[in-house]
């Protein structure tokens, strides 16, 4: 299941913290970034790897005991030797503070990734991901063993491990059924009650869920690709403690299998879960199967404290006494706190990268892209100037892809804190599904290659002028179906006005396009406006108003199929991209049995360029050199996931 990248507000499993953060403070970095872009654009297209702060090569970590990962920006914190007790402080941004405390997170709040971190620390998903920065389940942190498929992939059997709630009672399969039944009741009440709900998919596709001790059996409505169902659907599975099966404070436990009771339970839990003033005091939320238990919550600021769950059943319990999550009104305020040394762990915004050397003496600064892809989207249905016919030609999309200077963008716009990405499954972060062509740019930056493609297909290229079709027709060296002679390469492109990188990339692209006689009129707008209007499925009256748009991109689930994004009729197929080959490959990814189906899908889309793929920006963290832990406990933070039980204060 994909989720949207862009700045607030959006909806999805793991929206991009980096972009949310950048949207707060864009003025300071905009000019410098644009200047750097110009300089970068003048450079070559040498592939760029992430580099460290102050120009330190990421491939040579400065701290000998700090582990290293290829492609990492900066240096990871030390493993070191833990001490016990103390407080670890971590920053979060006001505006993205938790406002809900139950795993059935409403759609209106599901864009705030910190809500997931907050909830997951007390109510763990059954299957935990990622494993460090690798996009796969971490079996040691998962409450259940890997699922077993039978009955032609229509039955899933899940065996829970011997984990316990903080009350001392075991986490059982019945607790998972409780979650599913209450979730179904929530969705029946309103589709907006669960942010990760897509009609027809989980939990609609679970015909029945039965529990027997530690064994959960799901009967599905149809057969799914096990890879898809495991990585894209079961990641939504949680367990609810039996004490939550009530409809009032201190009420008797209700049989949640009865839909009316499940609804009563949901209504009560929902009323409590959105009451921020009682997050720290309500006994319901003191029951945890995660590594932490909530201690206090400040409803005004959204700051909160947690203490380690002494009964946590996972492989590692926190060795410190208190986790304090502090709120900041801006990325600059958070960076000020890092400079002052009053914060142990904090995010670093791109606008602060030029001055990051101020904190590298006392903090380990590192980053990696989150899992997903960014891109400039085409509107294949826009009839203005025959754009629909123009853009349906693969050679046109290939020519345009040659005008994306990924290396220049990484170096100039992102100051090295980004990774080049050529398809829906980029090479970073690592995914077991990455196709072979994920690591090599099929369309490296080259205006001459772009011009050559156009010239060889019947266009008269006028650098700096107006390229027009001079050989109409459908032959191999002609413009293509529906493109009359004299048609100019001329259209519009919208881009989000925040973060600044969106505009910088779009301007650089339009500038490169001008060099081959393509005239792109640029228009900036708010993110909300773009997703509301540059969106063929939900804004059909605007179909002929936009040709291209750059609002960001989508995060991916562990199973990175582009189902719903690039299949015909997909609900998020923004520009009505249509390819029968893609449709077949996507169908196989979701409903077939081939474990390599999704890699094949990604491989095809990488070369078919349904969007112009862009570099993936890093999510950058600064961790005090007083704090250490295993690499995975810090790497997963770049994927919007916290495992604070892995962190500790160093001796």
């Amino acid at each position: 299941m994909d989720s949207l990248k862009g700045h607030l507000p959006d909806s999805g499993v793991k929206p991009p913290r980096s972009i949310q953060r950048r949207s707060r403070w864009l003025a300071a970095g905009a000019t410098a970034g644009a200047l750097a872009l110009i300089l970068g654009a003048c450079g070559s297209s040498t592939p760029a790897a992430n580099s460290g702060p102050s120009g330190t090569s990421a491939s040579k970590p400065t701290t000998s005991s700090a582990p290293h990962l290829t492609g990492l920006y900066g240096t990871l914190p030390k493993v070191g030797t833990p001490t016990t007790g103390g407080t670890i402080t971590i920053g979060q941004l006001k505006g993205s503070t938790p406002a809900y405390v139950m795993p059935i997170l409403p759609a209106a709040l599901s864009s705030v990734f910190t809500s997931y971190d907050f909830i997951n620390l007390m109510n763990q998903p059954i299957y935990w991901a990622p494993q460090g920065a690798t996009e796969q389940y971490d079996n040691s942190l998962s409450i259940a063993n890997p699922p077993v498929y039978s009955n032609g992939n229509k039955t899933v059997t899940i065996t829970l491990k011997a984990w316990k709630w903080s009350t001392g009672t075991p986490v059982t399969a019945a607790n998972v059924v409780e979650f599913i039944d209450v979730l179904k009741a929530a969705i029946k009440e309103s589709a907006a009650n669960f942010g990760n709900y897509t009609p027809g998919f989980f939990p609609d596709n679970v015909k029945s869920a039965t529990a027997s001790g530690q064994t959960l059996t799901l009967q599905l409505t149809k057969a799914y690709n096990p890879g898809y169902f495991t990585d894209d659907q079961l990641d939504l599975l949680s367990a609810l403690p039996p004490q939550w099966a009530v409809s009032s404070a201190g009420g008797k436990q209700l049989p949640f299998t009865n839909p009316a009771d499940a609804k009563a339970i949901y209504d009560y839990l929902n009323s409590q879960a959105k009451n921020v003033s009682t997050f720290g005091t309500n006994p319901l939320w003191k029951i945890s199967d995660g590594p932490m238990v909530i201690q206090s919550f400040n409803p005004t600021t959204g700051a909160y404290t947690m203490t380690p769950n002494p009964d946590f059943s996972g492989p590692q319990k926190a060795s410190y006494s208190v986790l304090s999550v502090e709120t900041f009104t801006s990325t600059q305020a958070e960076f000020n706190a890092l400079q002052a040394g009053t914060l142990d762990i904090g995010g670093v915004d791109f606008t602060n990268l030029p001055e990051v050397s101020r904190i590298t003496g006392t903090y380990s600064v590192y980053g990696l892209p989150d899992f997903g892809f960014d891109g400039m989207w085409f509107n294949f249905a826009d009839k203005t100037g025959d754009f629909n016919h123009i853009i349906s030609q693969l050679y046109i999309r290939q020519a345009l892809a040659h005008l994306i200077d990924q290396a220049g963008y990484v170096r100039g716009i992102f100051k090295g804190a980004a990774a080049q990405a050529y398809g829906p499954i980029p090479s970073l972060p690592k995914s077991p599904y990455a196709p072979a062509n994920a690591t090599t740019n099929p369309y490296p930056f080259s205006t001459s290659a772009a011009a050559s493609l156009l010239s060889s297909h019947g266009w008269t290229v006028k650098p700096g002028g107006q390229t027009v079709c001079t050989k109409a027709g459908t032959g191999a060296n002609e413009c293509g179906a529906g493109i009359p002679a004299g048609t100019p390469l001329k259209w519009n492109e919208d881009y989000g006005n925040s973060p600044a990188a969106l505009g910088q990339q779009t301007i650089a692209f339009a500038s490169a396009a001008r060099q081959v006689g393509i005239e792109i009129a640029l228009r900036s707008n708010t993110f909300n406006n773009l997703i509301a209007n540059d969106n063929d499925p939900s804004a059909p009256t605007k179909i002929n108003d936009w040709a291209m748009v750059n609002f960001g991109g989508f995060t991916q689930s562990l199973y990175p199929t582009t189902n719903t994004l690039f299949n015909t009729g997909g609900s998020y197929n923004l520009g009505f991209y249509a390819s029968s080959t893609a449709n077949t490959l996507i169908h196989n990814s979701v409903y077939g049995a081939d474990p390599t189906a999704v890699a094949k899908e990604a491989s095809y889309l990488t070369s078919n360029a349904p969007v112009l793929f862009l570099p993936s920006p890093d999510l950058i963290w600064a961790v005090s050199k007083k704090v250490g832990g295993p690499a995975d406990g810090f790497l997963n933070m770049t994927q919007y996931t916290w495992t604070p039980q892995d962190w500790y204060l160093l001796k």
Binding site: S3, L8, S11, G12, G95, S190, A333
Partner: protein, 314 residues
């Protein structure tokens, strides 16, 4: 006076209703389907429809507006679906903090700028006047965020005299008591406002210094100190009253930049966040408060002028 106030209040009511209509209309022009903006691109059509239905956004705009007014009359400002709290509660939590920050800064700016402006006028065209003018122009033209960053960098990070953050307590009394932490944000706001006020005060004092009553006072043999404090100060202050009255909305709206920079959540920041989140109930409530504050500020300024200047009758 009473008739004037009643008339002004009636006019204010019309203005406030007009503001609500315009704000309401503009918000719906920007996004006719808040559900899409709030839930995001990935949200299903069913979820968007359910959200719009639950919040009444599926109804015609005039019905939504009438319903909104009805709730408003009952004192219900709505519920923020992004903050998870009632709007009234959000405003209650943030109002005092913003009012304190802006109020302290405005008060300090007034206390400092009045004597500075008069002194500059008295010493006009002297080196000291030029120096203060240069400083005032520099501060006035300096963006607040830049001044704040400079103060943080020098006074907090390099010298360590002050913390980088404003007071983090939620109790307003505790915030007020924490002068050490509030010093930098208040001074940042004060400096910019003082620069503006002192220029107005200097200009007003220069005008008054040329008046006959000043010459008469001197001719009567009053000391220069008495001329300045008793006659010049009062008469020069009249022009400032309107300016200060117009500053009252800032007490409520807070100061977004300063709040953001010094990690001090208040109404300004709440409004900014609501704007990003398309959190309609919060946007409408704060806009409404701003409109009321402007009207009240003007009214207070008018009344204050009649008190300060007996020649003025409303």
């Amino acid at each position: 006076m009473t008739t004037y106030i009643v008339k002004q209040l009636l006019a204010a009511l019309i203005v406030v209703i007009g503001v609500t209509m315009i704000t309401f209309g503009l918000l719906h022009v920007i996004s006719s389907s808040p559900g899409r903006a709030v839930l995001g691109l990935r949200a299903s059509l069913q979820a968007v429809a359910a959200f719009n239905r639950a919040h009444g956004y599926d109804k015609p705009i005039y019905i939504q507006y009438v319903r909104y007014l009805g709730q408003l009359v009952q004192g219900n400002l709505g519920y923020s679906y992004k903050e998870g709290q009632s709007v009234a509660n959000l405003i209650k939590e943030n109002l005092a903090r913003s009012a304190y920050l802006s109020g302290a800064a405005i008060t300090l700016a007034i206390l400092l700028s009045f004597p500075v402006g008069i002194w500059q006028a008295y010493k006009r065209n002297s080196i000291s006047d030029y120096t203060v003018t240069a400083v005032a122009f520099t501060l006035y033209s300096m963006p607040t965020f830049f001044l704040g960053l400079l103060l943080i960098d020098f006074l907090a990070l390099r010298l360590g005299w002050f913390p980088v953050e404003a007071a983090q307590q939620t109790n307003i009394l505790a915030v007020i008591a924490n002068i050490h932490a509030m010093f930098l944000p208040i001074i940042t706001l004060t400096a910019v406002q003082m620069a503006a006020y002192s220029r107005y005060m200097r200009s007003s004092a220069l005008d008054n210094l040329a008046q006959d009553y000043i010459r008469l006072a001197r001719a009567k043999g009053l000391s220069e100190r008495a001329v300045l404090t008793r006659h010049l100060f009062r008469n020069s202050s009249l022009a400032m009253i309107t300016l200060i009255g117009l500053s009252i909305p800032a007490l409520l709206a807070g100061n977004l930049i300063t709040e953001s920079l010094f990690n001090y959540p208040g109404l300004g920041f709440l409004f900014f966040t609501a704007l990003q989140n398309e959190d309609y109930p919060v946007l409408l409530a704060i806009t409404l408060m701003g409109a009321i504050a402007v009207v009240v500020g003007n009214l207070i300024a008018d009344i204050a002028i009649t008190v300060a200047d007996p020649r003025v009758r409303l």
